[in-house]
Structure formats: structure tokens, C-alpha cells
Symmetry: C2
Subunit: 276 residues, 2 copies
């Protein structure tokens, strides 16, 4: 999926919501536990319920890997389900990969070819040759960690560099934007740090930002939109637990849909405010 | 496996070799391609052939994930095979994971519980709470990326920080050594940068260093030992392609054993030189 297609989808649906499928086997409703394949069954119903209000799904690979082979089966089946029934939705493997060139190439194959994800999150620590293999396929995206939503973001990301006016995360933005373009790179910026969006938008005015941390982690959607939105929206705001685990009765999917719809309505208003 | 057990294994075997199972389906001998499970068959024979000369195996998860569900099956079966038949060998998941706390906890479960790996490589960019969940199980290890062997290491890792005499990778060492101890943390230091070992040993004199990049990537074992070895050895030197793909006939395992034995002999001499 390219930049314009994603922008069109946002404009059409009046939403920039990404639903995070952090599907924890221990948290899914007990009525599903008897199903042959509880995680996939849960994901299918969440996808069907929330797709009308969202433009993207993000699958956190850790939650699948923790279930071993069955988890990897669930991951593949879920990506395949979304791409079959909702081909216009953007699918992100939240895998935070990154390794030397020949290894990153293997990860790109895993998530872009074996699976049909549109994007993968990538850690920047190993530099250009660890990121470039994710930028080589048209319509596929690397989403580079810039400023994350957790406490540990202050350990290294916000340190200032010598002979520069920039912090580490700003330097990641400055250097890496030369490796790709707004057509194949996005950045992860935590919603918990909305005051940083202004500086980030000076460095990468046009790129999409993937923003986790709204909801359970305490980030505020209005602040994110105020400081992070650009003229094409340029935001994918993720919500995971606050949507998918909002209810654990047999109505879990209906409640998830309501939560997603509420966010979509807020997003619609924020898009209008920005003249989109 | 704890620090002393690993040191004992090195002393007993006269080797600090880690064999990297970067098993690329396209590179394994054609005679194995007819096997029901070519990757696992290849790994089993490489493990049996090289175990006498090595103290560790490192499985690069990218090579398995690129084969989808079957790859994850091969990964689990290989770890299980090593832990069943060679319980004294140290098994590393070279997965370069790292995410917010509740997600890293899931990765720890994936590699330490679902699989029985002893250690996992972790990217430091997201800071303390992304690393700590890997330090909570006795006998299990996080191996944090410090200075990697690739060209991209110079993009961020070697940048100097303001108000400090340290580069980013040195700061990663300085901060992170307070998060754990030599009993549950190691560091990745590329063999391609032996001149850096001296400074690294000033910061982490006792920790084990996992050293990739010897062989195919151009690193030199003698330099690594000269600058990186401590009084308990403190090194695991990895070789992947130079051992496992040294030959692609039906004798591939015998040739791999010869290559591993050659390295073990060099290592034995280097251990003696250091009085170990």
C-alpha cells in the first residue's frame, strides 16, 4: 500500500485508528477458550467488529511467539484473514526487528513475503544496513523506532549528542530520513510525549508517525493530533488493550466496536479541525 | 546455566566457540533437500558434528521466521534437540528483541519458557524496562547489543554524547551493567572492531562478550582474544557461515567438524596464553 492509498483510506473512513492485536491468551473471554483456535477466533471477531472504524491493524509478534508454533500459526492466519477480507486495511507487524544486512533481508522475507504485512517496526540501533532491506519492496514500509512511549525512552533516546543540537532520537530521524522516503518509512513516536511532536514535525514534516500509548498507557489523542497531524493527517494512532480487552463477556466484539467507533468519532472531529 | 558453569565448560573443552545456526534453506546441501525436514536434519547433523568443539549454539531467528510456521517448528525442534542431547551447551536465541515491559515479558516467555534457550540477544534502544524482563529468571541471560559488527554500527553506536566522555555504545554498557550482573547479562561486541575491546573491558571487565564477525565478516580471533579475554575467558566467539556452509556435499558435517576443531585448537592456544 502506498502513501496516497493510505491517505485516501483515512479521508474516506474519517479515521486514523490502528487497532493493536496484542492478543494475550490469558485475557481473552473464557467463552472462546473452548474454540479450536481461541486466539484466531478472537482476532477474527475483533477484526470484523473494528474494521469499519479503523485503517490499520498492528500485530505485536511477542504475544504470538509466546505461544510457540501455535502462536506463529495464529499470526499468519490473522494477517491472511485481514488481507483477504479487508485488503484496504494496512497491516503492521510490530516486531521491532533489525540486524546486519543479510539477516534483516531474511526478516523482510518473513514479514513481507511469507506473510503479507504492509509494514514492520524496526529498531534503529544497528544503523542503515539493518534498516535498508526493509525499504526495497515497493508498497512495503519500515516503521523505525524514534521516541517510544515507555519510561526507558529516557535512558538513551533523549540523550543529547556532542557537536550537535540534537538528541539521539532526533539524530535517528535526521539520518534515517535519507535512507528512504515518506513512501516507505514511518516513525514510532509515543503518545505519552506529545510535547516532542513539534520538534519531530520540523524534522519529518511529511512522514507518517505511528503513535502507540493512547489509552492504557495514558497518552492523549487531542494533544497528539494538535502537535503531530500534518496536512495529509500523517498519523496512525494505535490502541490495543483499551479496545480489544474492553469487555470479556460474549459481547466482547460489540464493545470493542463501540470503543473503536468512539475513537473514530474523535478522530473525525480532529481531522475536520485540521481541514481534512 | 550460570556464569561458573559456563566458565567450567570453556575450561574443560578448551574452547569458547559458539556455532551460529544461520540455516538458510537455499544454502544447505542438495542431498538434504529430499529429507522430510531439511533444516532440522541439517541442524542436527551440524550440532552432532560440532558439539565436541564448541560451548554454545546461536540460532538466528530471522533464518527460521523466513520459512514461516515450518521455520518456527525447526527452531523449536533444534533448541529441544540441543538441550536434550547436549544439556551442557549454552543455547542463544539471536533474536534482537526488545519492547515495552509487558511485551518484553512475552518475548522472555517465548524464548525461556516455551523454548528452553539460555539466552536471548536484546536491542538496547528502548532502555531499562525493555531489558529487565529478560533478567528475572535465574540461569537465563540477556545479551545486549553494544557495538555490532556491521557498517551501520557507525551511524549511532559510536556517536559521542554531550557532557560525557562516552559514546552511545559505551553509555549503553555503563548504564545497563547496573540493571543486571555478570550472572545474567552479556554484551554483543563485533570482532570487526577489536581496537574497541580495551575500552569495553575497562567498563565491563567481568561480563561475557558475545563476539560475532569472526570468519565471513572479517574479524580476527587473535586480536579479539588479545584485547577481549579476561581471567575467566569472558568470551563466546561466534562463527556461522565459515563453519556450517564450509562444504555442501554429503560430507558437510565432517567438514564443519574440521572447521570447528581448527577454531577450538586456536582457542585452546589462546586460553593457554592467558593462563587459563
Amino acid at each position: 500500500m502506498n502513501y496516497n492509498q493510505l491517505v485516501q483510506e483515512i479521508t474516506k473512513k474519517r479515521s486514523f485508528l490502528c487497532v493493536g492485536l496484542d492478543t494475550d491468551l490469558n485475557k481473552i473471554p473464557s467463552i472462546l477458550k473452548k474454540a479450536e483456535n481461541p486466539v484466531f477466533e478472537f482476532n477474527k471477531r475483533i477484526v470484523d467488529a473494528t474494521a469499519p472504524f479503523s485503517v490499520a491493524f498492528k500485530l505485536n509478534t511477542a504475544f504470538y511467539e509466546s505461544n510457540g508454533v501455535q502462536g506463529w500459526i495464529d499470526l499468519e492466519k490473522t494477517v491472511n484473514y485481514i488481507k483477504t477480507y479487508y485488503p484496504d486495511l494496512f497491516v503492521i507487524a510490530d516486531a521491532k526487528r533489525g540486524d546486519i544486512g543479510n539477516t534483516s533481508k531474511m526478516y523482510a522475507q518473513a514479514f513481507f513475503n511469507s506473510m503479507k504485512c504492509d509494514a514492520i517496526t524496526v529498531a534503529p540501533y544497528m544503523g542503515k544496513d539493518s534498516v535498508s532491506p526493509f525499504l526495497e519492496t515497493e508498497g512495503k514500509w519500515a516503521i523505525l523506532l524514534a521516541l517510544t512511549s515507555n519510561e526507558g525512552a529516557f535512558d538513551f533516546q533523549t540523550l543529547e549528542l556532542k557537536n550537535s543540537d540534537s538528541t539521539l532520537f532526533e539524530t535517528v530521524l535526521i539520518k534515517s530520513k535519507q535512507w528512504g522516503s515518506k513512501e516507505n518509512m514511518m516513525y514510532v513516536v509515543g503518545a505519552t510525549k506529545p510535547e516532542s511532536f513539534k520538534k519531530i514535525r520540523e524534522i519529518v514534516p511529511e512522514h507518517f508517525l505511528l503513535v502507540p500509548g493512547v489509552g492504557a498507557q495514558g497518552g492523549d489523542l487531542e494533544h497528539v493530533a494538535k502537535y503531530g497531524m500534518n496536512k495529509h493527517c500523517g498519523l496512525l494512532v494505535n490502541s490495543s488493550r483499551a479496545i480489544i480487552f474492553a469487555d470479556n463477556t460474549e459481547n466482547f466484539d460489540k464493545v470493542a466496536a463501540e470503543k473503536a467507533q468512539e475513537m473514530k468519532q474523535q478522530m473525525d472531529a480532529l481531522l475536520k479541525l485540521s481541514g481534512i
